[in-house]
Amino acid sequence: MKLGGWGRYPLIEAKLKSPASIKELIELISRGNAIGRGNGRSYGDSSISEQNTICMKNFNRILEFNNKNGLTVVESGVLLSEIITTFLNRGWFPKVTPGSKYVTIGGMVACDVHGKNHHKDGSFGNYIEWLDIITSDGEIVRCSRKINSEVFNWTIGGMGLTGIILRVAFYLHPVTTSWIKQKTIPAKNIDHAIEIFEENLDSTYSVAWIDCLSKGNKLGRSLVMLGEHANISDLNYDMKSDPLIIKSKTKILIPFNFPSFILNSLTVKIFNSIYYALGKKKKNYKLVDYDTYFYPLDYLLDWNKIYGSKGLAQFQCVLPLKNAKLGIREMLDALSFSKSNSFLTVLKRFGKQESCLSFPMEGYTLALDFPITKKNIDLMKKLDEITLKYKGRFYLAKDSRMNRDTFKKSDIRFEEYKKFRSSKMKKSFSSVQSKRLEL
């Protein structure tokens, strides 16, 4: 069958099996060239193996929960959304969450995902206590920072290439409400946006939405959104009656592929109206429910269809702090010069990252979405070059089209990773992406 990632590009003819037991899973692994697949939410080809894609949807049980310290043990196919619906009304929330809740916990480990609080709390890997991994010889290996630490460290952010992640023990974080106090600050241009980030490093959550159509001294005009978990005292009378409420909202299903021009006129209109409305206001705190704050796009189920039938690609890189201003400006210039539009352009400050393979580094990450066209692919190549020039690196969970040389120049850590795997693994795991980039 044809398999794709969230971007639906590339689509690859691949064998997909959904084992129902550990025995079946081990048998599949023994065939070699296996890769684990969760909910298919990485954008490109990282969870696809032509010969042996193993879907983990049947391993979806929550095994343990400690209500004293939040330690949660799950099988890797459990969705983050299930964790939230199960534990939020008991006062627990993931410490790190990506921009969609429809990812599996196994996928969160393999990509070592980050959230809007990376500058403060680091990536998801920081909150993992231990992992159970099925390695190439069919053994279930428990690993943590203390036992089998080598496998543990390489698995976090290792794109599923050390083995099939079977169980994950990770910490949830106590919260008193399901609301976020959000403050939105309009930024005149990219320098201003970075200034706002740097002034607000103590804010738990921060992210900026860039209007990629503005140019000149308005280049990088954006809305910087800061957030904190609200306390009970922040809530109004009605909200206080059920402070941990989980509202089930109607999701909108995108019924067909959109023609791509609709997007930008729409986003720009929305952006402008918020931007100018905020400019007039002084105090901009408001309470937003967790779902709207963290997962705005999850409202639109299948929002990837908005990009048309050819699919979409996301470009996401991080630039080191000292190069960020120059580099990001150069990228936005390239974007504006190419006359390509990105529907969602997101900028975020990262903190330090102490781990073997994780994407973040202290600096700024820029993420752009493009419908797949020749022009946009060329633009992304240009953006690759700028990333290299400013000593940045790329997020593999988003990648679907980078070339091997670019990747190798950007990230030498993967050479060590390869050595580790070839010394320790009999039958290697592989994905279309790992072959493309020689991970």
Partner: protein, 245 residues
């Protein structure tokens, strides 16, 4: 007040586990019965953690008829709803040549399920309340060359359920026959099924919950099966016998 309890027999099947989730979500405590109960430990913790209900596990062998009365009478609490999801398809070509295999399929789909529901029926009748749910099959509506061993056992089971319903209708006990049609489960994962006719285990579970609430008698999970089976039943035997269905 202690919560009502739902017993699910043959609990390792995908439909059974989905039904357990569905009823637990409604606040029922769950009793799961299957051979080798320890294989259900992960499901037990999963359901308990998600829905904050009690889940208990029991060893149960559908083919060990002699044990059924003791199994029911030793349950710590007589359930308000009992769902029998026991079933085994076997391989038709093997069933045609190997009589022991065929008998095993017949016993697994008819004798075992009928026996345990008979025992439960008597207990429910004595109490004067409760709902019994039997998961039968559209394969029991007319014998076909492709699966008549399995189908004949399900036909027997469907007739048993219908009789039981008739007997208990005035005794406060309700009996539901579930005819799922194709379902995407472990049992069928190697067969390619037409997606429009195939239900997910969750859909079957929701249909069961709904039928229990609304006291339906016979349910087809995908309504189209009602039509398909009407058609299949209406074909005269002289033509039917030559058809490949």
């Amino acid at each position: 007040m202690s919560k009502d309890t739902v017993l699910i027999i043959g609990a390792r099947s995908d439909i059974a586990i989905s039904a357990a989730h569905c009823f637990a979500k409604e606040g029922y405590d769950i009793q799961l019965a299957a051979r080798n109960k320890s294989s259900l430990n992960a499901d037990k913790s999963d359901i308990e953690l998600r829905y904050q209900v009690g889940v208990s596990l029991y060893n149960f062998d559908a083919l060990d008829i002699d044990s059924h009365e003791h199994f029911v009478s030793s349950l710590p609490k007589l359930p308000i709803v009992a769902i029998c999801a026991v079933g085994y398809m076997g391989v038709q070509t093997k069933n045609e040549r190997d009589l022991l295999a065929a008998v095993n399929v017949m016993r697994s789909n008819f004798e075992g399920p009928a026996s345990i529901l008979a025992v439960l029926a008597n207990h429910f009748e004595q109490r004067g309340s409760g709902t019994l749910v039997g998961i039968s099959s559209v394969a029991g509506e007319r014998g076909r060359a492709k699966n008549y061993v399995y189908g004949s056992a399900k036909a027997g089971f469907s007739a048993f359920l219908s009789g039981l319903r008739n007997r208990l209708a005035k005794k406060g006990v309700h009996v539901i026959t579930v005819l799922p049609g194709f379902v995407e489960t472990k049992m069928t994962k190697e067969i390619s099924l037409p997606s429009k006719l195939t239900a997910k285990p969750d859909e079957v579970a929701i249909a069961i919950l709904n039928a229990v609430k609304k006291k339906h008698n016979i349910i087809y999970v995908k309504k189209i099966w009602l039509l398909i089976m009407k058609l299949i039943r209406s074909i005269p035997e002289q033509f039917f016998k030559k058809m490949k269905l």
